[in-house]
Structure formats: structure tokens, C-alpha cells
Symmetry: C2
């Protein structure tokens, strides 16, 4: 009997006791990030359970959806409080528990986007919730791989089987996703019409997008001028796909140039206005209007060969220097408040990324 108890106490044969010391941004309840986030130091004895790993984060971006998660207005929510914020990042594996099969110490991994908390220096994760990626990929790209480049990739693959020379139209051409759409479309022989907002440095932006591979860059105003669009559509076929992250009038303007049987995929709503479809486009032009949410796709296809192929292909393109990053601003965990304030105000010129070291 005593011996039996002893054996049960020694169950940690299957576990690994470690000291987890981390710095993190955590919150106790939903609200404005500036008000509810706190930088915390975590120092405690933890057990690495069967199938779990300990990682050291290398870099974690701040996505707009992370802010919405903290506000409690995003469908991805932490399962309990206190919670560590952040949904995306890249980490190095520093310890592994028993029965870990697919991950090794020293591996570079990206976690599943599901409120596991990535704005932290260290974390313990189940190996089921991570994907090992190519070590040669730089941390800045790897940190944002799960969301923006993946969204662009899937939207180009899953809604229309493009043949070379066909075209797409997208608004938010200068958004983080939009920049990857431009680059992947160029690599895959798809022509792009990219709609951007009127702005003071328009020529500079046009040059930048064209240098990435944009075929046409038009402002929202130009999109509404028939003669400008007719000239473009004399050179390329009507778009079979429209990618919409804006909504409102601009989305409707894009629809009018969409081909018969074409599909508009909505993946954002920056104008905070709905998608308005004239009835005739649905009935007589047989256009389809659908939505895309990367988080759902990744959850449903986490270990699929389709997802592994995508991650490998994107990493390879980055290693070959065929994918440029959006403008990044690298910050330390201590700089979080300024970043949150700037993002809450709406428009920021660069994507913030926490780098840990």
C-alpha cells in the first residue's frame, strides 16, 4: 500500500518539472488595451505535461484582431482570466516533456492562432498546437506567417482556379494582406488591380506597389471613373475574384468590374460599413459573395497536408527573397503602451512586432 502510494508520487517520471520565468502582457478582463493590459513577471514551478513543450518566443506581432480580442469584441477569446494577450508569433523550443513526438529542442515553431497568448517571453504549449517551420526563415516573417501571408495565399487558391493571365481586383491594396496578395499574384501569373485611398504620397505608394508586382494601382476616386477602368479592362480580362477588406461604397464599386460568375471574398471591414450588392449582380451576373476568416480555416485544417504545403511554400518563397514584408516597427515588451495607443487611434504606418531577447 505504502509502496503503491510511493509509485503514484513518482508519476512525474512522465512529467518534467521546470521553473517557468517569463515576462508577459496579461489582462484580467476585457476592455481598452491601454487600461486592462499589464506587464507581469511570472515565476513559478511548472510541470511540462506529457506531449507538451516549453518555448522561448522570438517575435510576436500586434495584429488589429489582437486588440479586438482584448476588447472582447472578437470571436477568439481566452478561455479564462488572467490571460496572456497576443495570438501570433514564432518561438524556439527550449524543453520538451515526455511523449513529444514531432518537436525537438531547438526547433522553430509557430503556435495555433487561438488565444494561447504570444506576447510573452516563454510559454508551455501542447505539441498538438504548434507547427514546426524551416529554421532558415527570419523571425519577422515567421512571426506573421500564420495570418497575413496565409490569408493572401488561401484567398488566391480557394475561391477561383486561376489560369495565367486572369485578373483580380482588391481594395486595401496597401494593407498587410494586400501586399502579400500583390506579391503572390505576380509569382503565380495573376494580374492585379489594386485600389488604395487617395493620400498625399500617392505616387510613392503607387511606385512601391508596382515594385512589388502590382499591375494597376487606382485610387477609390479613379475606380469610379469609367474611362480609367475601361482602359485597364481593355488590357486585361475582367477580374474573376474581388478581395474586399473595406466594405461600403468602395466594395460596391469593385463589384461593378467583377466578371460574370466572379466571386467577392470579404475578409475585413475597415470602413465599418456593410457589403451592399445590387440585386442584378446576384441574379443576372451570377456573382457570389462569401467571407474568409483565416483563423477558422487554420483550426479546421491545422494538421492538413494542404496547410503544411502552404507553410513550406511561403517559407521557401521568403528564404528565396521573393516575398517582401510590410513596413515593420520592432518594439520591446516595455514599449507596449505607445503601440496600443497608436493602434487604438486607428491608422498606423507600420506593423508592430515585439522582439524578445
Amino acid at each position: 500500500m505504502n509502496q503503491h502510494r510511493f509509485l503514484r508520487r513518482t508519476a512525474p517520471l512522465f512529467f518534467t518539472n521546470i521553473r517557468l520565468a517569463s515576462q508577459a502582457l496579461a489582462y484580467d478582463n476585457f476592455g481598452d488595451p491601454v487600461a486592462v493590459l499589464k506587464k507581469v513577471s511570472i515565476q513559478n514551478e511548472r510541470v511540462i505535461k506529457n506531449g507538451h513543450i516549453m518555448v522561448k518566443y522570438l517575435a510576436s506581432p500586434i495584429n488589429p484582431a489582437d486588440i479586438n480580442s482584448i476588447q472582447g469584441v472578437y470571436p477568439v477569446k481566452p478561455s479564462s482570466f488572467p490571460a496572456i494577450a497576443g495570438n501570433e508569433g514564432v518561438a524556439e523550443v527550449v524543453r520538451i516533456g515526455s511523449n513529444v513526438k514531432h518537436v525537438q529542442i531547438g526547433d522553430k515553431i509557430i503556435p495555433a492562432v487561438k488565444a494561447s497568448g504570444t506576447w510573452t517571453t516563454n510559454a508551455i504549449l501542447s505539441e498538438k498546437d504548434v507547427t514546426v517551420i524551416d529554421k532558415n526563415v527570419d523571425d519577422l516573417f515567421a512571426a506573421q506567417l500564420s495570418v497575413n501571408p496565409s490569408t493572401a495565399y488561401r484567398m488566391l487558391k480557394d475561391f477561383h482556379k486561376f489560369e495565367s493571365g486572369e485578373s483580380l481586383i482588391q481594395n486595401g491594396g496597401n494593407s498587410a494582406v494586400g501586399l502579400f496578395v500583390i506579391q503572390l499574384a505576380r509569382l503565380w501569373g495573376i494580374k492585379t488591380i489594386n485600389v488604395v485611398r487617395e493620400r498625399p504620397n500617392l505616387d510613392e505608394l503607387r511606385d512601391h506597389l508596382k515594385s512589388l508586382g502590382a499591375d494597376y494601382v487606382v485610387t477609390e476616386e479613379e475606380l469610379r471613373k469609367r474611362e480609367i477602368m475601361e482602359q485597364i479592362l481593355a488590357e486585361i480580362p475582367k477580374p474573376k475574384l474581388a478581395l474586399n477588406c473595406v466594405g461600403g461604397q468602395n466594395a460596391t464599386d469593385c463589384m461593378r468590374y467583377l466578371a460574370d460568375n466572379g466571386t467577392m471574398v470579404t475578409y475585413g471591414g475597415m470602413s465599418r460599413k456593410p457589403v451592399v450588392i445590387p440585386t442584378g449582380l446576384l441574379i443576372f451576373k451570377d456573382q457570389k459573395y462569401v467571407g474568409y476568416w483565416m483563423t477558422r480555416w487554420s483550426q479546421q485544417n491545422f494538421n492538413s497536408t494542404q496547410r503544411m504545403k502552404m507553410i513550406e511554400e511561403l517559407c521557401q518563397l521568403r528564404i528565396e527573397n521573393k516575398l517582401q514584408l510590410p513596413k515593420m516597427e520592432i518594439i520591446k515588451l516595455d514599449d507596449w503602451k505607445d503601440a496600443m495607443e497608436n493602434m487604438s487611434k486607428g491608422f498606423t504606418n507600420a506593423k508592430y512586432v515585439f522582439k524578445f531577447d
Copy 2:
């Protein structure tokens, strides 16, 4: 040489000369039906070419789309003027040309919906453009079979694979298509929530729709009352399909009760307002918004087994008295002007059908 010419002149061996005497409603140019339609008598020597047949129309309905065709604002247009109006009807075959393979004298046929002109007592058609139907089907049902019952049938079959007990929501519950949706859904074990406009004789309409098989009948105002809809959705699952022939606010109200992954099919726009979709329904609820146009489907699937199966199944249901007709008003060709005037004013209480005899 002379002999050769003679042979060419006797080519009518392969044709059949007949005297076509018909009364028809024709027009010379697009415009308001009351202004441009004329009743004409056609008396001429005609040849029934290879593969063609002569038919005597039994009944032809007036569909709203016929009015739009005459106005020139509908995608189905006559190929030349003068043109005979009307797009749908049922006829009896009275003569056949040579090399007619699938049609016999005495057959009951329905023509393809493509501006062939059905508001006429007689016509010559290619056998390729007609479908032979069961002689036992009554003329009033047969005359409208190609459009309204077929639209209801396809929308229930082609956008969601219903399991028994699942549900749909439709606006225009009292429209001609709506009534067939209610009846087919009941036959196939699909629960229906039917939205109608507020009106003086609401209780009578509710009773009528329920007698046809409607599970729930709600007014546009009731649709916006959370407690009413919550009570309904406590009894049946959320609709997987929404059928929209109204657009505007009412379509958006319907969307809010559509299940995740559900589809809204737009087949009309009676409010003349667009379809307005809150972005979150597309992205997070993964709802799909598409259109349906019976005319296109029929053209693309004219001789398909799928279409033949549908026509046979609908005819059989009618013969077994399982499909009731919408309220009809039977008129003679000479009554056309009153009918056009009433339809131009918008709301009519019954569907007009020309009967010829």
C-alpha cells in the same frame, strides 16, 4: 445542269408547307407594354423546316419578367422586331416537319423560356426548343411550370442538401414562387419560416399559407422582434437557407436568423433595394450570398436528366393534387390591355394567364 436546278427547287421535299393563321400580341420596339403592344392577326404561308413543329398554344401566363422584356430592361430580349411577346406557356403539337424525332402530333409541350413569343394562338418552333410533358397535367399548371414551380424546386435542391427537420426562411412568402417553396418544403420535410408584408387580411393569409404547409408565417415587423423569433428558433433549428425576392432591410433582417455556413439565395428584388450584408456575417458566420436565375439554369441544363427529372416530378405532384396553384385570373388575348395596366401599377392579387381556344 437544269436537272440540278430542278432538284434544288424540289428541296421542299424535306419541308412542309402550311398556312399559319394566328392571333398574337406583338411589338415593334421596347417600351411601356400598353403603348407598344398590338394585337395582330398573322396569315401567311410558312414552311415547317426540318426538325420543326407547329403548335397551338393552350395557355400562357403573364410573368413580371415578360413586362420587363417588353420594356427592354430584362436580359431576355427578342432577337429581332417585330417580336411576339411572352416567354412561357403550354401548347399542343398540331403539325410536325420532317426529321422530327422526339415530338409527336398531339403531344403537350412547354417551350424554352427565351423570348420565342408565347402570347400567340399558334407558332412554329424547333423541336430542340421544346420539352414534352405529361398530357394529364392541367393547362394552368403546365403553362407556369417552367418558371415558378421550377424556381422553387431548384432553390430547395441546389444550395443546401436538406435533411429532414432542417429549416429555411423566405421573404415574399405569398409570392408565386413562395407558395411553391412552402408546398415543396412540406413534401420534403423542410420547416419553413415565411415572411410576408403587414396587410389588412393578414389572418386570412396566415391561414392560407399554413393550409399549404407553412410552419411559421411572420410579418416583416414580427421578424424584427427578438422574442417572436426566439420562440420559433426554440422549436426548429436555425435556417440553413434563406430565399430572398425582396432585398433591402427585410433581406438583412432575414440574414440575422440564418445559421452559420448558411446560404442566402436572391432571386428577385421587389423592394428595388440592394442586398446589404453586415461584414461579420460573411467573415465570422461564413454565410454565402448568391443569386438564382431560372432562365439561365434552364438554358444551361435544357436537355439534362436533372431537368427532365424535375419536370416529371413536378407534373406528378400536380397530377396527385399535391401542389396548389397561386390565385389565377384567366383572360382572353383581347383582355391584354387591362391586364398590362393592372400589372404596371404594381400590385395585383392574381396571376394572369391567357387561355386560347
